[in-house]
Amino acid sequence: MNRSVRMTRWVTFLWTIATILILSQPAQAHIVAGESGGFLSGLKHPWSGWDHICAMVAVGMWGAQLGVPAIWVLPVTFPVIMAFGGFLGLIGVRFPGDQIGDEIGIAASAIMLGLVVLMAARPPLAAAMTLVGIFGLCHGYAHGRELPPGQSGLLYSIGFVVATGTLHALGITIGLLHRWKAGRGFIRTAGAAITLAGFYFLYSAFHEEPEKPASPPAAVSTVMSLQSVTAISVHGVS
């Protein structure tokens, strides 16, 4: 095959692709109009903050230390209670202290869960579930409602829950080292590290300015102002 034939084929191929791309129209499909994506946002959210990672992994490790049935009861309990926390946040229930309260709760979760892993504490199952549940509530409240604009709540929720479960699985996998003596020491050291990280999160909660609500972009503000002007001019000021 000579060079000119190859060139012609390439040009034809690129021409076809370019035509399809230029003329393709948006698929106005599906019932959730105006929402696209969200799974990856939800999936990466728990992995994007060390506070969440520390707590999730600690839950898994503690479950592995406690053995059956806590090894699976805790990771089953946590996502549901965490989702309940997210649910409360979404319907507008406010926790004491609001944003700073969330941060303190999350920092406390890392400190407490790190400590129980460090001490290899063995409370009754109900007490362990309660502790994990309370902290799950804080994490869900803080993180479960952070949906980026224009994305699907369902897909975000799926990604968020799957990522949280994966972090638990990671913690359980690390916790399985508990079977060996050296592994037990390693897990306790990891618990100590998580506790220290928790103190850092607590320090940050008190010393960092809380995030201000994002103001709408200039274009949106302009459109909103124009809409207000139009509404006033049409309906008058009551």
Binding site: W15, T19, P79, L90, V161
Partner: protein, 201 residues
């Protein structure tokens, strides 16, 4: 020369056939049955409860597994036909309830009677089918029944495969994994309910 003509013909055909997919369904271009299959495959709000019901039936054994395998697609199809005739979908976030119900039943591994498992599956199937049918009708007149047939066929396949997989599980840990998956489904349903209520506010 022949290749140039061919490519010109290809481009002209592409130009002439351009149109937007103005549909509730994911239009496959292969007909309404495949549209239904495509819709179900790309709609986690429909497919996840079916997987959860398959897990539930599988956990409970062969009897409920067989029941769900046939009754779920039938109930879905029946609900879909009812939805096509009703033309309006209720505004209550029903899908969230099905996520939570199926998820909690799987997570708790509740020892329900066989008939109750099949009954739950049929109720959820009818409800989702109704919402699908009403959605198709609202999106415009089409071949809704055939689309529902595609969905029902897909449900049969997914429910059968999931239930059969779980029935065959003997390992304690594998059953735990199934229950953990149930807790995830319940958690997703709870968050979905939150989003739905927030939109209402």
């Amino acid at each position: 020369m022949r290749r140039s003509r061919y490519s010109l013909f290809l481009v002209l055909t592409t130009l002439l056939m351009q149109r937007s997919a103005q549909a509730h369904l994911v239009t496959t271009g292969l007909g309404p049955v495949y549209d239904g299959i495509g819709h179900f495959s790309l709609s986690p709000d429909d497919s996840i409860p079916v997987v959860a019901l398959g897990l539930l039936a599988g956990l409970r054994g062969k009897g409920p597994g067989r029941g769900v395998m046939f009754q779920l697609p039938l109930a879905w199809f029946g609900g879909g036909v009812a939805g096509l005739m009703a033309n309006t979908a209720p505004s209550i976030p029903l899908r969230c309830i099905s996520f939570m119900l199926a998820g909690v039943l799987v997570a708790t591994d509740l020892r329900l009677p066989d008939m109750a498992v099949v009954g739950v599956a049929m109720a959820i199937g009818f409800m989702h089918g109704f919402l699908d049918g009403a959605g198709f009708q609202a999106a415009g007149p089409g071949k809704g029944a055939l689309q529902l047939l595609g969905i029902a066929a897909m449900i049969f396949v997914i429910a059968t495969m999931t239930a059969a997989l779980v029935v065959s599980i003997r390992s304690y840990w594998a059953r735990i994994v199934v229950r953990v998956a149930g807790s995830w489904v319940a958690a997703i349903g709870l968050l979905m309910l939150g989003w739905a209520l927030r939109r209402v506010q």
